[in-house]
Every structure is written in C-alpha cells, then in structure tokens.
Symmetry: C2
Subunit: 147 residues, 2 copies
C-alpha cells in the first residue's frame, strides 16, 4: 500500500522537472484516497515556501475545509526539511512516509529527528525508505543534467 | 529603528483579531523600507501554513521576483515556530527581530535554537524582546476574550 501511494508521489516529482526544480513530489491520503498532490515549484514561482509538502498540505486543508489533517498520511519522495517538518506539526498530520533521506537538509532523520521532540504539541509517526531508489535515480539524473 | 518596524508588525498583528486568529504580525524590511507585510490568518483561511512570517516571505519574494531574501530583515511580534524558523532558512533571510518569546511553540530560543544549528546551510541573525510587552498585552487580551 505504501508503494502504491509513493508511486503517485514519484509521478508528482517528475512534474518539477518541467520547471527545472529539484524533483520532489507528495500526495496526502485520507481513508485510502488521495485528497491532494504537490510538487516542488520553488524555482518556477520564485517562492522558497513552495515545497511539495507545503503545497499538498494547503490543498488538503482547502479540500477538507479544515486545517486539522489528523487522520491523513503524507507520502513524499524525499525526507522533509525543517520548514516542512514544522508544517507537518502545524497541520497535525497523522503519519509521514518518505522515500530517500536528505543528508543536507532532512530534519526528520538526517540532521535531527525534530518530529520526535516531546515538547512539540503533536507527534507524527514516521516511516522512511519507501521506493528510495526510484527517488534517488530521479534526483541524481536531475543534478547530472545541471552540471 | 527596530521599534519603528516592530510597531508596524504590531499593526499587522491587530488585523488577525478580525478573523479571531491569534494576533501575530510581521513585516519584511529591505534597505530601510518595508517591502511586505503579513498577519496570522490560519483560522480565517483554514490553512495551518498561513502564519504571519510565511505570508510576509511569500509576498516579499513575489515583489523582488527572487526567492533569496539575503539582505532582508524580518520583524515579527512573536518568536517563530518550527515551520516559520525553517522558512527563514529557506528564504536565506539575513536577520530576524522578534517581540515576545513563545514558550510553547517557539523554536528560535524557547524549545530550541534551531537557527543556530551549524548543519543548516544558512545562518540567521536573531534579536528578541523588541516591544515584547506590547505584543504580550495583545495576545493576553485575545486569550481573555476566548475564555
């Protein structure tokens, strides 16, 4: 089941390539249905907050007309950064499933596991390494073309 | 000078009261000019990412047509949360000036000083406690009316 939704997140990630953005995609799932999708559009829109996760969260809350995503699961192809980890807490999302680790910017496992801080007012379940290889290839190919 | 811009951020904060949102306001300053403003609109828009800081960052990058805010200073009436601290890093903002600390959610001094982590790819200067009392009164009054 995790792989099924991560494949959809990977489809989203590929859309980032059209605007020369780092390919990262996300989908949010509620009751086994995808309720929102997002892909990195930072360069496209000159907006540093336009990460896949933030876009997917905004769309999901709009769809549900509620900022609480406490029964929702986010699938994202790469480990979230600090901003996106914070947005997962803000939206009270239930669970995060991600693809590859992000050694440089990942704040969920790599630099720190910030979501595990007991002082946070919400705890997010975390599962990593789902279709990590597919995401890695996508990102490696992107940076190869940039060189 | 800090107080002058914090007063403008406080004016923004008062706008949040119109939608029953926690009063937090922000302005972004470049070359001694305010280039963007934002206030907390989470409840108004049912969107957990609509914190004052995120809104001000999005507007500033739109205005400059650039996601780098590396010569800009953010003034915000309350210590930023994890998400907003992350957004400050993402936008490469030069400096953060804030009003009161946020014991429950503040990730710049209170829970942690996440911006000081040397593994981050950008360092943000921080100055707190500017017109903190004005911000405190605003927030205390807000929560009194909620009881």
């Amino acid at each position: 089941m995790d792989e099924k939704y991560m494949k959809e997140a990977l489809k989203e990630a590929k859309k980032s390539l059209l605007s020369d953005d780092v390919p990262v995609g996300a989908v949010i799932v509620l009751n086994n249905k995808i309720i929102s999708r997002g892909h990195n559009m930072k360069e496209k829109n000159n907006d540093p907050t336009q990460h896949a996760e933030i876009i997917a969260i905004k769309k999901a809350t709009k769809k549900l007309n509620d900022w609480y995503l406490n029964d929702c699961i986010m699938y994202v192809t790469m480990e979230p950064c600090l901003m996106c980890a914070g947005a997962l807490i803000q939206s009270h999302i239930k669970k995060l499933v991600y693809g590859i680790k992000n050694d440089k910017f990942g704040y969920v496992d790599s630099i720190d596991n910030i979501l595990n801080n007991k002082q946070n007012n919400h705890i997010v379940e975390i599962k990593g390494n789902i279709l990590a290889n597919e995401s890695r290839i996508l990102i490696q190919n992107f940076f190869k073309t940039k060189r």
